[in-house]
Symmetry: C2
Subunit: 132 residues, 2 copies
DNA sequence: CCGTATCCTCCTCGATACTG
DNA sequence: CAGTATCGAGGAGGATACGG
């Protein structure tokens, strides 16, 4: 059964890779995911292929440099695919790979959590600041 | 019904807070969560209260400065509680708040994803590097 | 044991200017 | 449109030393 095998492979991977260990490659991957822009890009691509300029418009405040850089990193990691349509002007689109699709719910949960619990955090901050 | 009310509050919060908008407070919260150490600290506290030195030992490679700084931020955000037992030497413990408990599964999922999918990412990187 | 304070370095990130 | 190249400021974050 292919699915079970894949699940077993992932379990095995988690035994071998421990992000608590500084030198572990998965720690570097965790650092990569712990990025300002990664979750926003992933969520922006949730509904399918998007052009470079569309992503830029969705994610307010991202600089051209950071957007390009983060997209390249995610492409290198196999999380998204960059495709070029030769035309004038050229058209570049990005879409999630299956690997990226598997990451999407995870990072989307982080974005949602931040949006949902912001009020509680703001209350906690005011309480803390009042006492310190 | 208290639970339903809380759920409604969160839904409302998600309508009002949109992390795609740079100025939105939830975007700052997302940036806070997008931190090298946050998920590791949260997961380290998953099984309950831990002393400062225990956390430091669990998370290999974290400097005293960053650990203290991140713990302070998380305390201010109401995600964990710091408690001091006056003794000689002093004993300082950290544990998750209910808010922190609600965040735990989310960030743990990120850590797990990184550990599980590291092999695929490494393959993707080798493929990418071979072609560029 | 659990910090705080200081210094110093690197590297992230934004701004700007330029190309196919 | 979708980049690349370069520069420069600022902050992240480590090392070290010291304090309650």
């Amino acid at each position: 059964m292919a699915t079970a095998t894949a699940a077993q492979r992932r379990r095995k991977a988690r035994e071998e890779y421990d992000a608590f260990i500084a030198a572990c490659p998965s720690r570097q991957l965790l650092d990569r995911l712990a990025d300002k822009w990664v979750s926003l890009i992933l969520v922006a691509l949730a509904d399918g292929e998007q052009r470079y300029s569309e992503i830029a418009r969705t994610i307010a405040g991202v600089s051209q440099k950071m957007l390009t850089q983060t997209l390249r990193n995610l492409e290198r990691d196999g999380i998204l695919i960059r495709s070029i349509t030769p035309a004038v002007p050229v058209r570049v689109s990005y879409r999630l790979t299956p690997l990226g699709e598997s990451l999407l719910p995870v990072v989307r949960a982080v974005k949602y959590w931040a949006e949902e619990h912001m009020p509680e955090v703001q209350v906690a901050r005011r309480r803390y600041d009042a006492r310190h």
